[in-house]
Symmetry: C2
Subunit: 454 residues, 2 copies
């Protein structure tokens, strides 16, 4: 297939059908009616806005979650907005199928209706970036800006979003740090099409700043401040938000995720295929055979998954795995890689190690020899020598990695995610074995399937 | 034995007998006669001086090498001093048993006579530190100063020198960096006796500067400059040379060797014994059993010893072993310790390693992903991922340490002593085996017998 054939085929799959489109539009009309009716009977001065990919018509087929924002007048005190907003959300949700309260910067209602997830989010009715008071307030401005500038290139956005999903670079969540939908939309608007974005994947890095709102002219001082700050924190891209000169739309984009686009864009342009958009599930082989071939070992800590949302849980899992990896490396086990995740009710840390028994002689540095503590060290150890100003000793140790992990955890010598400490201290520690439900994870981990770009 | 009994016993062994004393004195008279006679017939204006431990009567029984300095007038050009000095040395040596030319800052003659080594060293006839032009010129001043101030405490110096030898802290050679004889003499003069030096081994560090020549009063500017320089280079002791305010007598003393005195002085005062002065040869056991018990491995590089003096050879051997140790550590072999030496016509580097086969998966960092080189790296490697801005790959390797050493040496990736490069590249590489003549070395190395202080 040439590139146009590929694109046509992808569009067939991701462009909503007329039927789906009619369903979505009907749903929005219905929801707006319900919201307005509830607002009126509540006596509040609130306007409902649809935001997000549905409102911008950039959603992918089958992926039509609704974001309905409830905009309060700017003069509403924040406390009142939180309280009344939640109340109003609940009152609307009562008329839908089911709901729960979720927590971000402030609480909002996540409801379900006709098989679709509907977020009812209170915000301020801002007209301008100067009015922005909470993190969600810009969404209305984003939706307006995209709708004004997209000029019918909605399918181009769909292609880019699907491509980013396919190469595992989509999503601005803190534990993903990839491209947000809004960032994808702006890139299409800026470069003109999906293919042009790919062709410019290299150039956008070298260009360093993208300023579709022309803020560097309109608000030079603020925009320069943003630019300077973001360059100093070494972001791969600085894309000054067209609706707010103080914000870099790509602030959460990591070098890794940007790098995935960088390489995959090049590879796709060279040899286009559907695989980029719809990668086949990696064929799963035996993790035990992988271990044998690699000559390495797999250490798994398995524990009860605490009841936390991914935004909180995943960074803590990563912190814990990184901490354990560093501690084991210091202890003389070669640590090649780590990964984390959860499956069923249990979370895991996996580490690939070069060995599971450690060298029987360990050299330990002591204090400088002319200190009080040095006399202690001298008295306590069997073999002592001096290098530079410091005393050293060696110890014979015969430990297995499991004992070492237990010892480190008992002595709290591993930096762990704060909500995971107790769970990890009680974890099952498995060596070169995982329970059946983790076999796939273990294989993908050892093959580096999730992070490799080649 | 109490401390006085120990000291008495040691003195019995190290104080020269009347017979030895008579022999030495006769030898000096005879040598002076020969020297004067040769000088006279050469028509040179040169004065012979005895310097060193014989001239100061601080030599140990049986250890009576002669240093005969040939002092030229200050107005002699340096070239002429080198040339005529060597000629004169040779002319004197012709009347002795045998000789060879040795090289330090300038060449001198090392002769043998009646079983004693006699160094004939040209120098300037300096009266004062302002006249000093070559490194050896101060020796005459040192000898005079010690003879003026020692006040009969010659045996105390003998005790301290023997103690320093016994604890392996004696010798100012660059490859030893211990206490020189002159430093030992000054310490006895300063603290009054052998035992007082031991009692002050801690205090002399805290005091930081010892100034027996009172230079801080007599030449405050120069002496302060010396003090400042030596403190900045972090020497354990600053002992301003009583004959030259610009010089720290302890400039070559390492923290390790000072530390040996520090601990051994304390141990001796607590529990005096002959062992400190005359340590028993470590009983030698099987290095193979040591290896088995320690669970480690011994890597030995064995090669022809180049014809170099110790001052040149030993630092180069150490540099090479350190370089190889670092390279192997980087390559993933745990390096516990190294040692060097020579035996018969062959020199060796020994390293104790945690393992001799290395982990089969090695992670290698590549260039930053947005560079030209990154495209190469991406093309060349099978698995590639991004961390931060950098590309990484992993390779399966199945190497034994011998292959790795050969590879490192071939690719010149080990910093080696410059006169040893060729020899080491052609070295035999032995694992967990040494030839019989090195079995003792291997055992002492694995037991850390030479460097341990406990």
């Amino acid at each position: 297939m040439n590139v146009h054939e590929v694109i046509e085929e992808v569009l067939q799959r991701i462009r909503p059908t007329e039927e789906e489109r009619a369903f979505v539009e009907g749903l929005m009309v219905e929801l707006r009616g319900l919201a307005e009716e509830t607002i009126e009977s509540s006596g509040l001065d609130v306007k409902p806005y649809f935001v997000g990919s549905l409102a911008k018509d950039t959603y992918l087929a089958g992926d039509h979650d609704v974001d309905l924002f409830l905009a309060f007048p700017l003069e509403t005190p924040l406390e009142e907005l939180r309280e009344k907003g939640l109340e109003l959300g609940k009152a609307i949700a009562e008329k839908l199928d089911a709901y729960e309260v979720a927590y971000a910067e402030h609480p909002y209602v996540r409801a379900a209706y006709r098989g679709v997830s509907v977020d009812l989010v209170p915000c301020y009715d801002v007209r301008d970036w100067r009015d922005v008071r909470t993190a969600v307030d810009r969404s209305i401005l984003h939706t307006e800006w995209v709708n004004e500038h997209l000029n019918g290139r909605n399918d181009e956005v769909r292609l880019l979003k699907r491509f980013l999903k396919g190469i595992n670079a989509y999503g601005s969540e803190i534990y993903i740090r990839g491209f947000s939908g809004y960032l994808a939309e702006i890139l299409v608007i800026k470069y003109g099409s999906f293919l042009e974005v790919l062709k410019n994947a290299d150039f956008m890095l070298r260009q360093k700043v993208i300023d579709p709102g022309d803020w560097l002219k309109r608000e030079p001082e603020l925009a320069m401040k943003t630019l300077k700050r973001e360059v100093e924190t070494d972001r791969p891209l600085v894309l000054i938000d067209p609706v707010d000169p103080r914000r870099n739309v790509a602030a959460n984009l990591s070098w890794e995720k940007y790098g995935r686009l960088y390489f995959k864009a090049r590879a796709f342009l060279k040899e286009p295929s559907l695989e980029f958009f719809f990668p086949e599930e990696a064929r799963v082989g035996s993790y035990l055979r992988e271990l044998r071939e690699r000559g390495t070992h797999l250490l798994t800590l398995l524990f009860e998954k605490p009841d936390l949302i991914d935004d909180v849980l995943l960074p803590q899992l990563e912190k814990s795995a990184r901490g354990l990896g560093r501690a084991l490396a210091r202890e003389g086990f070669g640590v090649l890689e780590w990964d984390t995740g959860y499956s069923g009710g249990r979370a895991f840390l996996m580490l690939e190690l070069e060995r599971i028994e450690r060298g029987r002689v360990r050299i330990r540095p002591g204090p400088e020899f002319f200190t009080e503590r040095a006399l202690d060290f001298y008295a306590k150890n069997e073999t002592v020598w001096i290098e530079g100003k410091r005393l050293y000793t060696e110890k014979k140790v015969t430990e297995n990695v499991v004992e070492v992990v237990r010892g480190l955890l008992e002595k709290s010598q591993v930096p762990l995610g704060k909500n995971l400490r107790e769970a990890i201290k009680g974890a099952d520690v498995l060596v070169d074995y995982v329970p059946p439900e983790l076999e796939r994870e273990a294989y993908l981990f050892l093959r580096r399937e999730r992070k490799r770009i080649k």
